[in-house]
């Protein structure tokens, strides 16, 4: 039986980071991954990530994946692909089917970084070919360049539903509707705005009643829900779609963690049953750690930070790192994690994660026979109260009349600050914590537009109402094909994707530094300067196919 110092299951963002942290300090790490390539689900994330500009912000997910893979390789991490871990036994023995052959490994430490799987939603017709997970659609188009369908219904308006809808539009599909059972959009408003202004309707308090078709999806019936979530008879509407994507949440892929004998608790905001772990990501089984989505659904940036925490802890534990330094590094990493877990979405995860740590502490104390006050009840299913929506500041009419100025339509506390760094004039201030709303010092802004492609939420526009007697110019981000060209007349759309007039394309900026977020400058009639937020080409060319 082969012995390894550290075995990591899963080569996604958490697993790769754990491995690099340990290997960089001299530890020997073997990653086991069932796929043919490393990177987990990061390679299909084509959008720019939120976050701190000191870290990964405004990098696109697949590029983050590339650099994590490179780091692990440079650190000397060994990776087995097509390696399915089928069991974890006493003394940290792993059963692995590697390229079809069963092997046994014995590890000093095991890190389970197995990620998550998509939840399903059952309704008549949900098994028809054409109904699939949103992540499945994302893999098909972003990894394989194959369009999942031409007309899509997206079920669920969390960040996955919104982002995948946007990516389906980028790939050339038409998203006919997004339905959301709750009375409000689940994900960030900036992600919702990106698809709304293209004209995708988001039906709130709606769900899919059934999908129908003869051996494949030909349409779906939507139905409205009352305040208790019950369908209201008579509100059905039929839409013609060939694909239904389910984006109704994720669950930790925790089978191996169960098999290893780790203790669990149920926390709704973390995706369901989650393994108890402490601040160093250690589970209740000695020598077994978790990191990333398996330890509670979050997002890739916090998976990376959790991987770092586990990596530092294990490196110290194995003697590759002095304890004092490890404590310092862990403290830093926890601060980064805390910064990511603020605001309306991250804040919920942060609160749920604290409940999980409490549950772990309670369990350990009980095991040790100590009295524990009932305060730290193991199961916590509540949601954090919603933060009041902060108002965005819009440059005054006087300022807009003076010349070009940025309008930042970012109204939610998102852990994100690249706009601040992008501005050479010092006109945008985010500060600490990075969930603060960006504040524009309009008198300093010269309307250069560098903040437009830097904003991962594509929520910044530059308005110039001094352009001419009756026209204003708008600079906006446009991540679609084909690109318009100078002199073209295009349709001007508002925030809801409604046609409000015509626009003339004055300029198309697309330097490499913009990282595939071209900025289009258009002229519109002056009264539309604060209305127009997107353009549509009059006769979209047929996309070329292979």
């Amino acid at each position: 039986m082969r012995k390894v110092e550290v075995a990591v299951v899963g080569a996604g963002p958490a697993g790769l980071t754990v491995a690099s942290e340990i290997a960089n300090r001299g530890g020997k790490v073997l990653i086991l991954d069932e796929n043919a390539k490393p990177g987990g689900q990061l390679f299909k994330q084509l959008h720019k990530f939120f976050g701190s500009s000191r870290h990964l912000a405004k990098e696109r997910g697949f590029k983050i994946a590339q650099s994590l893979v490179q780091q692990a390789q440079e650190a000397g991490v060994e990776i087995w692909f097509d390696a399915i871990v089928i069991g974890i036994f006493e003394d940290r023995v792993l059963g692995v089917v590697h390229k079809g052959k069963l092997q046994k490994l014995q590890a000093d430490r095991i890190v389970l970084a197995t990620g998550a799987s998509e939840k399903a939603l059952a309704f008549p017709g949900w098994t028809l070919p054409g109904v699939m997970g949103a992540g499945a659609a994302q893999t098909m188009m972003n990894i394989h360049g194959i369009l999942p369908g031409k007309r899509i219904l997206m079920v669920g308006s969390g960040n996955v539903g919104l982002i995948v809808s946007y990516q389906l539009l980028q790939a050339g599909a038409k998203v006919e509707a997004v339905v959301e059972a709750a009375p409000k959009v689940g994900g960030y408003q900036v992600h919702a705005d990106k698809i709304r202004r293209i004209g995708v309707p988001i039906y709130l308090s709606y769900t899919v009643k059934e999908a129908f078709g003869d051996s494949r999806v030909e349409g779906a019936i939507l139905i409205q829900l009352d305040e208790n979530g019950r369908p209201i008879a008579g509100t059905e509407r039929e839409i013609a779609v060939d694909t239904v994507c389910l984006a109704v949440g994720l669950s930790p892929m925790a089978e191996l963690t169960w098999v290893a004998g780790c203790q669990f608790t149920y926390i709704n905001d973390l995706g369901g049953q989650v393994p108890l772990h402490n601040e160093a990501m250690a589970t209740t089984v000695p020598g077994i750690y978790v990191a990333g989505d398996v330890a509670g659904i979050g997002e890739a940036s916090s998976a990376i930070e959790e991987g770092r925490l586990a990596g530092i802890a294990i490196a110290a534990d194995l003697g590759y790192l002095p304890n004092s330094e490890a404590e310092h590094l862990k403290e830093q990493t926890r601060k980064e994690l805390d910064a990511l877990r603020q605001g309306p979405v991250g804040g919920r995860v942060g609160q749920a994660k604290r409940a999980l740590l409490d549950a772990h502490a309670t369990y350990i104390a009980r095991q040790a026979g100590r009295e524990v006050k009932e305060r730290a009840e193991a199961t916590w299913t509540g949601s954090a109260p919603e933060a009041p929506r902060a108002r965005a500041e819009v440059p005054s009419a006087e300022r807009r009349a003076q010349g070009p100025v940025a309008v930042i339509e970012c109204y939610e506390e998102i852990p994100c600050d690249p706009c601040e760094e992008a501005c050479h004039q010092g006109a945008i201030f985010v500060g600490e914590p990075i969930t603060s709303l960006p504040h524009l010092k309009a008198e300093r802004c010269n309307g250069c537009g560098l903040c437009i492609p830097a904003c991962p939420g594509l929520a910044i526009f530059v308005i110039d109402e001094s352009y001419s007697e009756d026209e204003a110019t708008i600079m906006l981000p446009y991540e679609f094909l084909p690109l318009p060209h100078k002199g073209m007349t295009v349709k001007a759309l508002d925030l809801q994707g409604q046609l409000v007039g015509e626009a003339r394309v004055l300029e198309v900026r697309n330097p490499k530094a913009y990282d595939c977020t071209p900025v289009i400058k258009i002229a519109v009639s002056k009264e539309l300067s604060m209305t127009v937020r997107h353009i549509a080409l009059d006769e979209p060319k047929e996309r070329s196919t292979v």
């Binding site: 069932e34 796929n35 043919a36 084509l46 696109r60 799987s117 998509e118 399903a120 098994t127 028809l128 070919p129 054409g130 109904v131 699939m132 997970g133 992540g135 499945a136 893999t139 098909m140 188009m141 972003n142 394989h144 360049g145 194959i146 369009l147 999942p148 031409k150 980028q170 790939a171 050339g172 051996s215 494949r216 991540e479 679609f480 094909l481 595939c516 996309r543 070329s544 196919t545 292979v546």
Partner: protein, 108 residues
């Protein structure tokens, strides 16, 4: 449908063209593609018919977990088509029910 250009990924990189046999019909695919996706691009959405009710199943999870995409590949039943890459000359069959093992030269 395979798209050629993407606003973020640019010209989509594809592997070498290969030909696979799907229920006896030649289908073109590209190396690196998973069976289920290559078939989807060709308009084939039903990969498997269920054992009890004979209902069609297609791509659902695309991570090898749900087993909706099980097909008979080179005579081996219950192959997860969403995580198995195509290969030149591969014999792929729509699976009915639990599928059957086939001998090397047996016609489907």
């Amino acid at each position: 449908m395979r798209f050629a250009e993407h606003p973020i990924l640019g010209t989509f990189p594809r592997g070498r063209k290969v030909t696979v046999l799907v229920d006896g019909q030649e289908v073109e695919a590209f190396e690196g593609e998973m069976i289920a996706f290559a078939l989807h691009a060709d308009g084939i959405k039903t990969l498997h018919w269920t054992a009890k009710r004979n209902e069609p199943r297609g791509i659902f999870c695309a991570i090898g977990h749900c087993t909706d995409c099980m097909m008979i590949v080179d005579g081996v039943p219950n192959v997860r088509a969403c995580i198995t890459p195509v290969r030149e000359g591969m014999r792929i069959e729509t699976q009915h029910g639990r599928g059957e093992w086939r001998k090397q030269n047996e016609k489907s």
